[in-house]
Structure formats: structure tokens, C-alpha cells
């Protein structure tokens, strides 16, 4: 039996209102509608059926709701078209900005031996695995070639503090160069903090360098995930976090966590560990399906179905903490909520389309190889150089940015023209992750019905909307996260 009126009913020629582009999805008996720029509303199944009725009165409450969300417009009214255009332009404004995050791999060496890490080397051979000054200078040239007004330089590893001299050199050279370039320049060191000392702190203070570190939760879990001589990774990381907070400021350090199989079932303890450190945000991440993370299955393997309950429990616990007056933001939710509830796009690489590889962030490896993403670098370490764009020593900026290794995945994975994504009501919240799909299904697009990326994100979008619609307190909390 048909749930809808005859298709002719949707031709609104005789109605006083006209449809605007929108997409819909049925969720638990209700219908989610999202307009061209992702603004959403829920209708009951009955209301949705009425939308197909050309005699729906123009002054009905339903028509007013639909007009307010730019799902329909009064016949020939140009204002909704202009407003949608402004909102769409705002949403895509980062495209014109181009690459803003430039990741320099200062050293592949690391004193940790984390089983899931794809890239690190336990070596004292500086010649073999540290970035050299001339390579760093070329990376800086490339970063300043980006038309973006905002340039963030992030030092990664291995453990980048093992090559701290190079970091000092790059920061000072970038600052000197910026006296004439006038970019909004920022620096981040992604470090496990085990090697934090006065020299590093003094330099970070003098040059306004931010610290991004890893904290996987309570001591036993963190130390199991991140083995090092002395088995004291957690002790060093938490002591480092406190030193940075005290000496540089509470906002100068943030932490990321990696979810291993050992983390599942312990999300409340993990969140509590962040609260205990005085941190006010946490990013409940999945483990990337690359390199050693696949190789060392026995240590890490878990699938989306195992991870989603972990995420849901964590999100609900964070909502509960906030209700009790303990401030905590779940970063992945905050990124999505910004896309859901505002017309801004935070430009998070995994959740943009066109994909953020290369044009949102780019990686300069220690040896001068340039990769479209950090995950592309990890794949290369496993022998798959699909996302290698060139080498700073051999190739020009134009050759790197116009290489097929970048253009092909960008074009082939573009979500608004991808099967299923094209009609998906969540498309504006989502992204196209060509590296993930290449690693898991062998092509840049992937098959969405069986894609773990699609499954995970669809579940999170539905969860966030459910909580947002569920009660006023959570709605208010999510609105503050969206502005975060």
C-alpha cells in the first residue's frame, strides 16, 4: 500500500507555495528533513504526507514551519533563495581559503613503542629519521605558498621533541617571514610530553606554542596502550599536562585519546581521568584502520558495533557531568553540532566534502615526502604510497598540489555526487574520507551501505539529533558546543 499520494501531488504548480531542495530520512516513525544547507526539522509521518498535498493552506502552522526552515517558499519569493545562497557560501567559505594546517614530521624516532603506531622508530639514528633543516625550510616555503590567511604549523612524530632544535629553527624562521606575510600564524607540538623540560616550556611561552598530547584514560589503560621504558607514560604525560597548565596557561594544552579494545567498557573512567587533569574537552576517537592497527588485530581489533556503545555511553556520561556542573565537551559531537546547528563548517578533515586531504591539511614527512593526510603517511609506511603527492626536494608547489594523487581522490570521493550520499539527509554533516575507503575497500569512494565510516557517522548523527530533540537541557548544552 502506498504511503504517499500520487507523484503528481508533489508538483506544486497550482499551490501557493513551492518546494525548495531538501532531503529526508525516516527515523523511528518520524521523518527528518534537511534543507540545502543542512538545517533540519522533524515531521510526523502524517505531516510529511501533507507536504505532498498541494492544497495545504499557506497559513497553516506546518507551512510556517517548513518556510522557516527553507523547505518550501511562497510562490516566486526570491528571499529564501538569496538566504540559502548566503548560508551555502558561508558553509563553503573554507574552500577559497585552501590549506591551513601544515604538519611537519620533525622526527620518526620515539621512545614509546605503542603497538598500534604505524610510523615510529625506536632508533638513535638522527641522520636516518630526523627532518633536516633544508627540508624544513622547503616545508615552510610550501606552507607560506598557501593562499590561506590562517596558517597553523603542527609538529608531529614519532616524538617531535627528540628533534626540538629543528622546531626552534622553524618557529623562529616562520615568525621572521611572517613580519612581511602577515598571516594568522599558530604553532602546535603534538607530543607525549615525556621529554618536556624547561627549555621546551620557555620556548613555548616565548613563541606562543600550543601543546597537544595523548591521554588514553586512567594510568593502567594509558600505560598498557603506550609502553615505554619505565612503564611510566601516564605519569610523565599527566605531570607534563600540569606543568604546561601552570606555567603556560590552562588553555595551552589539550589531549587526544586513542580507543583500543582495552578501552571499550571503560569510557566513564576515561572521561573521569580527563576531569581529574582539569581538562574540559575530550575527543572520543576510533582507531584508524591503517597499518599496525590492522596488523596487530589481537591487540586492537574492534568494529563499529563495538565502538558505538562506547561512544554513546561516553556522550551520555558527558551530558550528565555537564548537568552536574562539571564542564566537559565531546569534541567530535561539537564538530558535528557546529555543522548541524550553524552555517559554519569547522573544516575538520574527516568531515568535509570535498575531502580535507591536501586542501585542508597537508603532511611534510621527515624525508621531504609530501602526503595528502596523516593517514596517507601511515599507509605509505605500510608500503602503499597512493597518497604521496611528491617530494619537497624534487617537486614544485604546483606539481604537488595539482598531482593526480591529490586530484583523483578529491574528485572521485565528492559526497554530493556519490551514490547514496547524494540523497542522504545527513550529507551536509558528513564528509568523504577517501583515505579510509581506499584502506578498507580499495577505492576512494567506498560502498556506502557496507562502509564503517558511513555506519559510524550515521549512527552518531542520529544519536545527536535524538539527544538534541530529547530535552531542553541537552539542547542548550549542544547549542553551546556548536559555538565552541
Amino acid at each position: 500500500m502506498s504511503k504517499f499520494r500520487e507523484p503528481a501531488a508533489f508538483q506544486a504548480a497550482s499551490a501557493d507555495w513551492q518546494l525548495l531542495p531538501f532531503r529526508f530520512e525516516r527515523i523511528r516513525g518520524r521523518v527528518l528533513l534537511t534543507n540545502l544547507v543542512g538545517e533540519h526539522l522533524f515531521l510526523s509521518a502524517e505531516e510529511f504526507e501533507q507536504l505532498g498535498s498541494s492544497d495545504l493552506p499557506t497559513d497553516s502552522p506546518l507551512v510556517r514551519r517548513l518556510r522557516a526552515k527553507h523547505v518550501i517558499r511562497e510562490k516566486d519569493d526570491e528571499l529564501p533563495v538569496e538566504l540559502l545562497a548566503i548560508k551555502a557560501r558561508t558553509r563553503y567559505r573554507r574552500l577559497a581559503e585552501f590549506t591551513s594546517l601544515h604538519i611537519l614530521v620533525a622526527s620518526l624516532r620515539c621512545e614509546h613503542s605503542c603497538p598500534y603506531c604505524q610510523v615510529s622508530r625506536q632508533s638513535s639514528d638522527r641522520e636516518a629519521f630526523d627532518m633536516r633543516s633544508e627540508t624544513a625550510a622547503l616545508a615552510l616555503d610550501s606552507a607560506f605558498r598557501s593562499p590561506s590567511q590562517n596558517i597553523k604549523i603542527e609538529f608531529q612524530g614519532g616524538e617531535p621533541l627528540l628533534n626540538f632544535g629543528l622546531i626552534e629553527e622553524v618557529v623562529e624562521a616562520a615568525e621572521t617571514r611572517n613580519e612581511t606575510e602577515h598571516k594568522n600564524l599558530g604553532f602546535v607540538i603534538a607530543t607525549n610530553l615525556a621529554l618536556l623540560d624547561d627549555r621546551v616550556l620557555d620556548f613555548c611561552r616565548a613563541h606562543n606554542v600550543y601543546i597537544s598530547t595523548s591521554l588514553d584514560g586512567p594510568a593502567d589503560l594509558h600505560n598498557k596502550n603506550r609502553p615505554r621504558p619505565g612503564r611510566n607514560s601516564w605519569e610523565l604525560a599527566t605531570a607534563g599536562i600540569q606543568r604546561v597548565r601552570e606555567e603556560l596557561g590552562v588553555d595551552r594544552v589539550s589531549a587526544l585519546m586513542t580507543t583500543t579494545r582495552s578501552s571499550l567498557g571503560r569510557v566513564r573512567e576515561i572521561v573521569d581521568a580527563y576531569v581529574e587533569q582539569g581538562l574540559t574537552s575530550i575527543f572520543l576517537r576510533t582507531l584508524s584502520p591503517y597499518g599496525f592497527a590492522i596488523k596487530t588485530k589481537s591487540f586492537n581489533a574492534y568494529d563499529v558495533d563495538h565502538w558505538l556503545p562506547f561512544y554513546e555511553e561516553g556522550l551520555d556520561y558527558i551530558i550528565e557531568l555537564n548537568a552536574r556542573g562539571v564542564p566537559m565537551v565531546e569534541q567530535y559531537a561539537a564538530l558535528i553540532l557546529k555543522k548541524m546547528l550553524t552555517n559554519d563548517d569547522p573544516g575538520y578533515v574527516d568531515l568535509t566534502s570535498p575531502a580535507g586531504i591536501g586542501i585542508g591539511a597537508i603532511v611534510y614527512n621527515y624525508d621531504g615526502d609530501v602526503y595528502a593526510s596523516d593517514e596517507g603517511r601511515m599507509l605509505a609506511e605500510m608500503g602503499d604510497k597512493t597518497f604521496r603527492l611528491g617530494n619537497l626536494h624534487d617537486d614544485s608547489y604546483e606539481e604537488i598540489m595539482l598531482s593526480e594523487a591529490l586530484l583523483a581522490p578529491l574528485e572521485e570521493s565528492f559526497a554530493p555526487s556519490a551514490p547514496m550520499c547524494q540523497d542522504c539527509a545527513f550529507e551536509t554533516y558528513c564528509g568523504s574520507d577517501p583515505t579510509y575507503h581506499h584502506a578498507t575497500s580499495g577505492d576512494f569512494l567506498g560502498r556506502k551501505p557496507t562502509s564503517g565510516f558511513c555506519r559510524r557517522n550515521m549512527a552518531i548523527f542520529k544519536l545527536l539529533l535524538e539527544r538534541y530533540e530529547g530535552d531542553a537541557t541537552t539542547r542548550a548544552l549542544f547549542q553551546t558546543w556548536a559555538g565552541h
Binding site: P7, A12, P21, V81, E82, L84, A88, Y92, P419
Partner: protein, 99 residues
Amino acid sequence: MSEAKLSFDRAGYSLDAVQRAAYRFSDRLSCDISEGAKAIEVNVRVADGTERPEAVLDDFRNEALDQVLRERIRAETSDVRNLVLALAFSKTGLIETDV
């Protein structure tokens, strides 16, 4: 593996709509689709171990119907969609004639 034959009247369904529905369900079903004079015939195989295969088939039929609706919305709004995007990207420097 259980099998079923579904038939979609061509007066109400396009081949594209049925194919889109089949793609969306390709994690649960595999389909052979053929066009007859009056109907689109779909031979469906439901994977072993699927709980309540009849319910999956019902959902598939409803999805085909939703795809018809999506097709109508796309057709009816394609002009205004293009207009909005043209307006959005004008004067951004992203379109060659703009530069």
C-alpha cells in the same frame, strides 16, 4: 539464502528509483533487476542469517517508494538548487569567469 521476486509497476517507478533502493539495501540484499514492458522485475536474495527476511523486503518496497519521492523532489527543485549554488559561488573567485 532465501529468494523473492518483486515487481514494480513502471507507471509508478523508474528504473533509477529501484536501482537506488537496491543500492541502499546492498548490505542486506542482492538484487538482479530487469525491465519488462510494464514492470521492473527484481529478483532478490536475502543473506542467510537475516532475521525476519519478510520485514527486510517490506522495508525495501518502502525504500523504493521513498526513492520515487526523492526523484520528484530532485526534478522539481533542480532549477532553484542550481540558482542557489550559482548565487553562493558567484564573486568568490572559485569560478573561472569570476576571477
